[in-house]
Every structure is written in C-alpha cells, then in structure tokens.
Point group: C2
Chain length 362, copies 2
Amino acid sequence: MADSRFLRACRRERTDTTPVWLMRQAGRYLPEYRAIRARASLLDICNRAELAAEVTLQPVRRLGVDAAIIFADILLPVVSMGIRLEFAAGEGPVIRDPVRTSEAVARLRRPETEEIAPAIYNAIRLVRRELGGKVPVIGFAGAPFTVASYLIEGGSSRHYLETKRFMFSEPRAWDALMDTLADVTTRYLRAQVAAGAQTVQLFDSWAGALSPLDYQERVLPWVKRIVTRLRPLGVPVILFGTGTAGFLQVLAASGADVISVDWRVRLADAWAAIGPERAIQGNLDPAVLFAPRREIARQVRTILEQAGGRPGHIFNLGHGVLPETPAENVCYLVDLVHELGAASTAAGNEEQAAVDGITGER
Amino acid sequence: MADSRFLRACRRERTDTTPVWLMRQAGRYLPEYRAIRARASLLDICNRAELAAEVTLQPVRRLGVDAAIIFADILLPVVSMGIRLEFAAGEGPVIRDPVRTSEAVARLRRPETEEIAPAIYNAIRLVRRELGGKVPVIGFAGAPFTVASYLIEGGSSRHYLETKRFMFSEPRAWDALMDTLADVTTRYLRAQVAAGAQTVQLFDSWAGALSPLDYQERVLPWVKRIVTRLRPLGVPVILFGTGTAGFLQVLAASGADVISVDWRVRLADAWAAIGPERAIQGNLDPAVLFAPRREIARQVRTILEQAGGRPGHIFNLGHGVLPETPAENVCYLVDLVHELGAASTAAGNEEQAAVDGITGER
C-alpha cells in the first residue's frame, strides 16, 4: 500500500503513471450518489458511517481513481464545538449564531477527539476494510481560516467582510479562534489517521480571499502548527487553497508535503514557486469537464506537459467537481490522465534518472 | 494637465507623491451619493449627463483624489447592442435573455458610436469643464470577457459555467462575440477620449475566473486589439482584473500602459511579473477600510514600501470601495497615501536619479 501510485507521488517517488483523484469525486454528478441523497440528507450521510463509507467508495468503483477521499463536510467538527449547523437547500451551510465577538470565541467548546465526528472515524475503518488495499484513503479537515470564515460569516460569503473585520479589529480574539480551531483540527485529523487515513488534506479553500501578508501573519502559523503536529504520524499532508497564485511560497512554508493549486496559475509556475521539495496537486478547471472531449484532452495534455513527468505530480481539479458535470466526462478524464500520464512519467523518470546520475542523489 | 500627478505616474514619470484614486470612489459609501440615488436609479444616473457628472465629482470634492473616474456601468453599451438590461434591487445586473447560441451572437447590434451611451460622453464634457484642469478624467469600459460573462450568464456568476461552456464548445461563436464586443468597446472608448477622457481603464474584472492559457488564447487577442486601436489617441490605457496573480505577464502582453492588480499578490511580485516597462496600480484589500486606522496605516505602508517609490505606482484598491465602507476611513486613506507617498517617492526619485546617472537614460 505504501507503494501505491498516489502515496509514492506524495513522497515525490517515481510512478508508472500520473495518479489522479478529484475533489468532490463523491457527489451530485454521480447518479448513485443522488440515489442515496434522495433518502438521506448531507448530515445524515456524515453521521452514519455505512452511508459515508458507501458514497466514499462509489467514485472508486466507477472512475478508477487512485485514492478514496472520505465523505464528510469540512464544517462537521464545529457541531462538536457547540455550533448549530444546518444545510439549507441550495444555500449551503448556515450557522444562525455567527461567532463575531471574543465572548463567542471563548464560548466555543474544545471537544474530545471521540466527540468530533465519530461516524467519520468509523467510515474510514469501513472504507479501509472494503478497499482491501486497492487504493489509499485520504482523510481531511477544513483549515482554520476557512472554517473561521463560515463561523464568522454564518455561511458562504463573497467578500469575507465580517471575517476580515474581525481579524483586523480583534487580533486577540482572532488568535484565540485560530488556536481553538487548530487544536480541534489536529485532534480530528490524528483520529482519522488512527482510524486508517493514509494521507490528510487540509482544505483552506478560501485562503485566496486574503492578501499574502495577511495569510502569512494571521493564518499560516496555525496551519504550520497543525502540519508540525501531524508530522510524527508519518502520513503526507496536502494543503489546498484556491486563488493562491500570489502566495504559493507562503503556503509551501507551512511544511505541507503537497500543495494543491487551482487553474488560475500555470502548474509549471506554481511548482517553481513552491519549490522542488514539495509535491504538487492540480490543476484542471472543473468547468473544462463541460467541454467537448477534444478540449478536455487538450487541457489535460497541457497540464501533464507542464508537470514534465517529474515525480510528485498528482492530477486533480483546481476545485471540486461541479454538481451538473456529465459523469461520463469524469470517467474519460481519469482514463485519459492514466493513459497520457504513462508516457509522460516514463519520459520524466528517464530525465530524473539522468539528473540523479549526475548529482548522485537518490 | 499632462503634468498631473496621475498622468505622470501612468507614463512612469517622477511625481511629488504617490497618486491615488479608488475604484467605485463614487458610490453608496458616500452620503451625497445615496442622496442622489434616493431619487434616481443607477440607470437614471447613467442616462442623465448632469447626474452622472455630479456623482463623478462628489469624491473629488470630498476625498481629494488625483483622478475623477466617470460614473457609468460597464454594461451600459450592451443596451445599444439590443440587450434588455435591468438592475434588480440588491441583485446587480439582470439580463433576461442571455446570449448562449451563435444565433444570439449574430443578432447583437453593432451600434454607431453616438448610440452607445451618449449621456456618458456629455457627462465627461461636463466633468472636464467643472474640474477646470484640477485632476484628469478617466473613462472606462468593460473588457470583452467580463461583459461577455454577464451576457452569457444573464447576470453575476460564481463559476462562470455557461460562459466557459460556450467558450469551449462554440469557439467560432465565441470569437464572433469577442469580435463584436471588442469593436463596440473600441468605439465607446474612442468617443470617451474625444469627449475629454484623459485615460481609459478596461475592466476585465472577472478575468481571474480563467486559467492563464484560456485567457491568453481566447481573451487576450481582443484586449490587445482594443489597446492597439486606442494607441494613436495618445492616452494611457489601464487594464484591470482580479484574481490575476498567476497571469500578470499575459495581461502585460496586452500592451496596456498600466496593469491594475488586486491584493492577492504582493505589489513587488506583481511589478516584477509585469516588468519595469509598465506602470502598476493597486493594491489594497477594500476590506482593510473596515479596519482600525493603525491597521489601515500598516497596510498602506507595506504597499508603498513594495512600490519602493519607483515612478509608475498609482495607489488604488484591488477592487471597488464596498458599499458599507466608513467614508471617514476613505478620506483618511487618501490623505495617508499622499503623506507617506511623498517621503517614499522622494527616496525613489533619488534612487532613480542615481540609476539614470549610471545608465544615462531619461
């Protein structure tokens, strides 16, 4: 299993082809997922291990992706922190009592590990058993800034105005909030690894709302703390954000093993920014999956060319699969990456071998 | 007037201090603007030259900014192309019959110059007269991609899915749409310059929704065409976008004199990417205007430090002033830029003089 294509790529080791998985690979674009959602809410699925395990496995069966990401929502842990979380139809998450004062921050609970999202731990165990070593399991959590943005805004946001106002105006309360979220997130991810997750991804999805300086000063220390505390577990950590083209070096400074980038930057430029010591994940625009196949192929080829077959590229989208995506195009994408990636990594491996020969490394 | 601080900076000439103006400096955050909006709709103001001129002048009087940007909406020209445009309360622009087929593209009118938005031309004349040379007037238009995104989506969008689907699936119709929009935009901006605009800004606000490659291949040629055709008029062209940290070099290839960047990139990194042959505009996060003054000052100082007092920096926000912004903080910002910019440009001018002495340039 440590020899799986995906885990090898996380460690920047050579692979037979480019590994690929997709954010939100379990989701509404799949008829088998919609069938389950017809009888269970999002929170129902997250709270029932067998359902969460089932939807986690659906895309592995249909797509042949190289990793299974456990089905969950990044806001699950906040329920155990005393927050009332709802999912309004078509609206996304809703938090009726947003956290906007230092008092509200102080009131947040620091749950014990077993309280955070126990069904998810069980789902990971079920998925591991069911997969029988076929592909690794990715655990995940929201990163402190992104989770904080939901807590403060009370839901999705366009300008993150309340979040930023709070961050700028109440620096101590902000730090206390980040501190709490970093600790809960660390516990949650440790427990996921204990349950069997072989990689974890931190979703700092809305990182790109901030300036590089604000991220560096007010967010990065907490991401770094989480990464550092997970380090002894020996599982790769992936750090994901969107709109981060301008501060990839800051993200790389988190110490994460893999940086996941969106389509708003050339993969080659992004890899140059994060440096050769990190693996990279990305970066197809999810909207390309609505395009004709010749266009999908063209864009996949461009990304693979930019990766140059160098060990350490994990193919993914730049953000999640969109709900209306044609499922057959998603299948096509995964097959195509495997097919084109084989030639690309073979060339890259040869080049790497030549470099290794010169430098005497590896 | 050609010697104004703002126009000199557009040409990368030395100035006494850093020029500053703000996108949406005329807007809801100003009580005097709200007083006019209480009796006139957005389209009323745009269609009545004296009202448009009045709201254009309001921020010049209150803030002491270094340029007046004519009050208008980037979608005004589409009305003359046969599109029914409405502004629903709180919803932004609404286009009931979105343009999603090649037939719909073919039906778009190519209006004569005088049909496009005649009140805006008159408003520019009024503003020029009223200002009496105090500060220059900036004309503007939406860039083809951003206007196309509204036409295709039917309004604002999150994922620009219909726009991208159209772009990927109907490349000929897409080119025809870009061609039409580029021509109408060129006519519109030429007429604004004829009426007295001393600079024009192209708002490609949603450019950052695209990958660098898609922008380069499917959008840049049309932006370039507009810039090239405006070149003989001798006025500086500013190209603005958000989320463009990953493709600033592509934007610079448009030939625009000034590239306007948002806060998602360090100004110093952005300037390095666009090169020393272009001026740069930006890049404070509009949300910082909700912060305590010590924080505003800290962020302004950081941006000025990154600009290093080099000729060619125009201070601005990374996007428009948000409606709920405290007006007194906006005044504070403008004064602060002028105050701190004086020291900064003095140092930068000295450095530049030393460089010029060595290279014998200028």
